[in-house]
C-alpha cells in the first residue's frame, strides 16, 4: 500500500488482549520458535493475509487477520481439517 492515498495517521494505541497475545505466541511457536515444530513460515502468514478481500482486511483487527491466516495455513498444510475446526468452534461456542 506504499504511496497510496490515505487519511491522517491517528496515533491509536491499545493494550493487546490475552487472546491476541496468544495468537502472537502461536505464530512464534508454529514458526519453530520456543522449541516448537516448524509448521509455517512468516511468508505464508503474509500470503494468507494478502489473500483477504480488501473490505474484510480493513474491517478486521490485526490479530483477527493473524488468527485467520494461521488457521488457514494449518488447514492448507493438513495439520487440522476444516471439519475438525467447524466442530471444535461449535463445541466451544456452546461451552461458552
Amino acid at each position: 500500500m506504499g504511496g497510496l492515498p490515505a487519511g491522517k495517521v491517528e496515533p491509536a494505541e491499545h493494550d493487546y488482549a490475552d487472546w491476541e497475545r496468544r495468537v502472537d505466541a502461536l505464530m512464534i511457536i508454529l514458526s519453530g520458535g520456543k522449541g516448537g515444530r516448524k509448521l509455517m513460515t512468516v511468508d505464508e502468514l503474509r500470503k494468507n493475509i494478502e489473500a483477504l478481500p480488501p473490505d474484510a482486511y480493513d474491517r478486521m483487527g490485526y490479530y483477527e487477520r493473524w488468527v485467520t491466516s494461521i488457521t488457514q495455513i494449518m488447514i492448507q498444510r493438513g495439520v487440522i481439517t476444516t471439519d475438525e475446526l467447524g466442530r471444535k468452534m461449535a463445541e466451544i461456542d456452546k461451552r461458552g
Partner: protein
C-alpha cells in the same frame, strides 16, 4: 546460495513486473532505479517460502537507496531525501 551480482554503489533498476503470488518488492518501487546501499546477506526466497517450499537457494538481499524526487513526481521536501528498500537480487537488473 546464489552469488551476489551487485556491490554497494552499483546503480540498479527494479524489474517492472506484476506476477501473482506473495512478493516482497513493493509495487511503488517497481521500475525505479536506485543505488545499492549495502548487501544484507542471503535469505530464503519469500516467494517460494510463502508456497510451502524450501526457499532454497538463498537469494542475496540488498538495501537499495532511491531519491524521493525520482520516485514520487509530486514529492515535497529536500531534494536529497531518500527512501531505502530491501530488495532481493532476482528483482534487480
Amino acid at each position: 546460495m546464489v552469488e551476489a551480482r551487485f556491490k554497494p554503489g552499483d546503480r540498479v533498476k527494479v524489474r517492472k513486473a506484476y506476477p501473482l503470488g506473495h512478493i516482497r518488492t513493493p509495487f511503488y518501487i517497481r521500475g525505479h532505479s536506485g543505488v545499492i546501499e549495502r548487501i544484507c546477506g542471503a535469505f530464503g526466497n519469500p516467494e517460494e517460502l510463502a508456497q510451502q517450499r524450501s526457499g532454497e537457494p538463498k537469494q542475496p538481499l540488498y538495501r537499495v537507496r532511491f531519491v524521493q524526487n525520482e520516485v514520487w513526481p509530486a514529492y515535497k521536501g529536500n531534494p536529497e531525501d531518500v527512501l531505502e528498500v530491501e530488495i532481493f537480487q532476482h528483482w534487480l537488473e
